[in-house]
């Protein structure tokens, strides 16, 4: 299988195009012949990370790198940052404003859903500067 990498740019509060990056990524994985169970996990985690950028940030980018061994996604935003990452990882904790919740976002399950679907997840954040969510999904399990 060949390798591939690329980047998508994300615009905050752009709910019309929300999900477009993860959807394009899904198409790329399908074209590469990645197993559908893996595509499902990558798409869900990427969608959640993309939505976090749309909801909380003015802008961000999603970069991906696909090798025969793994799929690595990095979503970097220019949002407010997460003061307490441990708290943000707890299911049900959210700081989303009311109008976002009315749309059905901000249930406090975004990061937990990413964790559930990724093999490795790291979240780095600096208050006032932004957050970087990076996750890996293995393609060939270590034997």
């Amino acid at each position: 299988m060949s390798s591939s990498e690329g980047v998508f740019f994300l615009t905050g509060k752009d709910f019309k195009n929300a999900g477009a990056a993860s959807s394009s990524l899904k198409g790329i994985l399908e074209d590469m012949g990645i197993p559908s169970s893996i595509i499902r996990r990558v798409s869900i985690a990427a969608f959640e990370a993309e939505m976090n950028t749309i909801i909380y940030s003015v802008a961000g980018m999603m970069s991906y790198s696909i090798t025969p061994e793994m799929i690595k996604i990095r979503v970097q935003d220019m949002g407010p940052g997460i003061p307490d990452i441990e708290l943000a990882m707890k299911e049900g904790y959210s700081t989303a404003p009311d109008y976002i919740r009315e749309m059905g976002f901000g249930s406090g399950m975004g990061l937990p859903n990413i964790k559930k679907n990724a093999d490795v997840l790291t979240v780095n954040s600096l208050a006032g500067e932004g957050t970087t969510v990076e996750f890996t999904i293995n393609l060939s399990p270590a034997e």
Binding site: G19, S23, S43, F47, G104, F105, S107, G108, G110
Partner: protein
């Protein structure tokens, strides 16, 4: 159970006639929080919600859901319908509130497991 049977017994209005209504419905999940649906629904499930905006299609597509039922007489946004047809996700509507509609689905034998 086939989606078409459910549509008939619950008198649902089909908003996306061009989508496949013969697909197998394996269960159902009701929630208005998108990530809750992503986390807890399963492939082939029907999704019952009051959310009508575009992003519900992305969720249904991500989870390979068998369709979305909008309750309480909610009308899907035009762009939602367009996307639903593109992504082949059937959208149905019902004047019933979620509680009543889910009760009927349960009595038809659908479960959330």
């Amino acid at each position: 159970m086939e989606l078409q049977e459910i549509i008939k017994s619950l008198s649902l209005r089909v908003e996306t006639p061009s989508t496949d209504l013969h697909r197998e419905v394996k269960g159902a999940y009701v929630s208005d929080m998108l990530s809750d649906v992503i986390g807890n629904s399963k492939e082939g499930f029907l999704w019952i919600t009051i959310q009508v905006h575009l992003n519900i299609i992305a969720v249904a597509s991500l989870k390979n859901l068998s369709g979305i039922i909008l309750v309480n007489g909610r009308v899907p946004a035009e762009e939602t319908l367009k996307k639903a047809i593109e992504e082949k996700i059937p959208i149905m509507t019902s004047p019933l509130p979620a509680f009543d509609l889910v009760g009927l689905l349960y009595s038809l034998g659908l479960r959330c497991r």
